[in-house]
Amino acid sequence: MPRFVKRALLLLVVLAMLPASLYGCTGGTEPTPPGASNSGSQPSAAQSGELPDGNSVTVGIAQDLSNLDPQLAATAGVREVLFNIFEGLVKASPDGSVTPAVASDYELSPDGKTYTFTLREGVTFHNGNQVTAEDVVYSLERCAGSENEGTPLVSAFSNVSVITSPDPSHVVVTLAEPSLEFIYSMTAPIIPKDSGPDIASTMVGTGPFCFVSYAPQDSLVMEKYDGYWNAEKAARLDKVTFKIITDTNALVIGLKGGTLDLVIHLPNTLENEVKDQFTVLQDTMKLVQALYLNNAVEPFNNELVRQAMYYAIDVPAIIEFVCDGAGVATGTSMYPAQSRYFLPELAEKYPHDVEKAKELLAQAGYPDGFEMSITVPSNYTQHMETAQVIIEQLKKVGITAELIPVEWESWVNDVYRGRDYQSTVCGIAADDMTAREMLVRYMSDNRKNFIGFADEEYDQVLAQALASLDEEEQTALYKRAEEILNERAASLWIQDACELVVMNPALDGFTFYCTYVLDMSAIGYK
């Protein structure tokens, strides 16, 4: 049957099933039932070898989406989904740089304090309205904390002193301290004026996809936005359903059963189950997976203990077990895609050495080891497996570690925010390609410093780096900061883990980014 006939038939069927009230994007052509998750009644291409009806895909994601306010410092898993719906004045491109988006151009004053943005003409929100300078000022002020008792929603905005709009096509952001890197924070989403907290449910942005529906613990549906300003980068798919499946095994069953077309972050251990039927793409995750140690509590407040543990674990073995050898050891809080700042030699500083580990432990006053706990968000199979491998390795130096699996929300609450933990295995990703993103959280007074690391020299070096206006000097200072982290063994950084993307073979266009981003716009049926 020719494709268009099929699609026409499908459209008829959809129309026949539709209730009178249609809800879709303004300008959207093909209506879909409101809130209905894809029933998946068509056989997937992976099984039947033909194209599925309708230009839509279902993506399986392993993390529940909560707190969908796009400007609130959301978790990486939420950001990667919202990347498709919202845009900033600039947006991330695959190589890690930023390209103009809602702004068509920008200029930085020589003193490094004033950014002037020229707004692009013809950018519209998903509700059809033009993006005005007022919307932009509102959005940026909201990021700076205008609706949050002055606490910035995006932490880098604490450096903003004033946001103005001299004329309808320009917006000027003035900083308190000079910063070359602030432009990366301008990826902060632009939302319609006076959205308020409702933005988390209305989700009106300017991206290539518009939001359709969200059912907690179930799915998020988005559709192609026909009014997208950049025709070249417009979405190829008409509809994308993110299916929330926090159990990795269920992801595999969904793939095998033909209900999922795309799964990101699949653990390597499950690769064999799906590789016959699906296209498997491999890269690294653009994050640093580590056994993060709470430096504020005993015995991890002792540098010798931390170093001993670093010698005790066998990083290459972990990478072999968990990522089939495809992860890259990092040795500090920086991942290889950040090629300007990444120091590969740091990964060699703590080779696997049980004797040395025991010696250091004895020096630290723990000749017989100690007991500790590792708290891990249980929806991340990879982190769970890593923790189990680490526990085995730590046994050899007398350290008995207990694994405590927790729900993602508890992890955020207790570990990340509450800092009530001993150690945790997780991945820390960056919003953008600045070294700042990966390093500020180790400054003693930083809000994100859940590791509780406090080191005067580090604070000094990083403060200098942040204020520096000379790129080379700045890079050198960042590298020095990375070395200090490694010397002090603030945590046991393991790897930039292997990223596996499993895709229906009928699809193509998947693009890996240097940051933690999932760009659905380039994906489509061949």
Binding site: A36, N67, A74, I253, S410
Partner: protein
């Protein structure tokens, strides 16, 4: 009979009150509350304190219980911490899903075990009878020995992944009653099979027991055929222990549904219960606990009524 019923009703309400108190107190003594999910990952302490005050989390336990109970009775189950939406709205579709699953399992149990139980209770004497006896016991024992989630994994593997009889993705009711039920049959079967085995065994034992009673011999001597004896006299009496058993089994069916939901990825009460426990979203947990308790206790009450209708001999105390 009216007085006895009133007494049962009082007991039912008392049980539910007890469950609600326990559910509420239990979750009030656990430290910590889920502010992070509402306020975002980088919230300050002041924001947290303000949130707690707004949610009434700083009031004494009994005040919160009373406020919660009165609201609950009015149908307001409170606000979910995590999803920032009314618990009632959050649970509405999930409760429907679990209830459909449990009901489907119940119907399957009855549909499977009644004919099989009657069939197995045919007794002519002799070798054949002995063999049947064995067959029934061994089959039921084996079926009873398979945990429902293992059965679920097996059904999923065989029918969804190998035979492709159904797709392993939940079909909501909005997509039509028939597709919904078609999907639900498999998880319901996983819940129902072990219980059906027990019911078959019980029904068979019960019928055979009744057939040996004096009144049946009398019925035979009056010229009743076996079939009419069964229909007129035996079944009614033999059903009494079965009804009791099925009523008692409703709790297990609900629990089984909640476990099997995890196997089939069904977004019912089970998934939200488990994740809400982990996320400390207590308004949701309390509501689920009280809802499940209401269903179970309510069904037991109905069974009790049925029981009285079926067997007038039951003492009217």
């Amino acid at each position: 009979m009216g007085k006895a019923l009133l007494k049962r009703l009082a007991l039912l309400i008392g049980t539910l009150l007890l469950v609600s108190v326990l559910a509420f107190i239990a979750f009030s003594v656990i430290p910590g509350d889920p502010t992070a999910s509402v306020l975002g990952i980088e919230a300050t302490d002041e924001q947290v304190a303000a949130f707690r005050a707004r949610q009434g989390l700083d009031l004494p336990v009994w005040q919160r219980y009373w406020a919660w109970l009165t609201a609950f009775v009015r149908g307001d189950f409170g606000q979910s911490f995590k999803f920032d939406m009314p618990v009632r709205a959050l649970l509405a579709t999930r409760a429907q899903v679990t209830l459909v699953l449990a009901a489907a399992a119940f119907v399957l149990i009855v549909a499977i075990s009644l004919p099989l139980g009657l069939l197995a209770a045919r007794r002519g004497g002799g070798v054949l009878d002995k063999a049947l006896d064995w067959l029934v016991t061994v089959t039921t024992q084996i079926t009873m020995s398979v945990p429902n989630f293992v059965l679920g994994i097996g059904l999923m593997y065989l029918f969804a992944l190998v035979l492709h009889w159904f797709e392993p993705e939940f079909v909501p009711l909005e997509d039509g009653l028939w597709p919904h039920l078609r999907f639900m049959v498999f998880p319901a079967l996983a819940v129902a099979l072990p219980k059906s085995a027990m019911t078959v065994k019980l029904l068979r034992g019960s019928i055979l027991g009744e057939l040996g009673q004096d009144y049946i011999r009398t019925a035979y001597s009056k010229g009743n055929s076996r079939g009419s004896a069964l229909r007129r006299h035996v079944l009614r009496n033999a059903m009494i222990p079965v009804v009791t058993f099925l009523a008692m089994a409703i709790g297990d069916i609900m629990a089984g549904s909640i476990v099997v939901e995890q196997v089939f990825g069904i977004p019912g009460l089970g998934r939200i219960l488990i994740s809400s426990i982990g996320n400390r979203d207590y308004p949701v947990v309390q509501a689920v606990v009280v809802m499940v308790a209401s269903v179970v206790v309510g069904c037991n009450f109905l069974a009790d009524l049925l029981y009285r209708v079926m067997d007038p001999r039951i003492e009217r105390t």
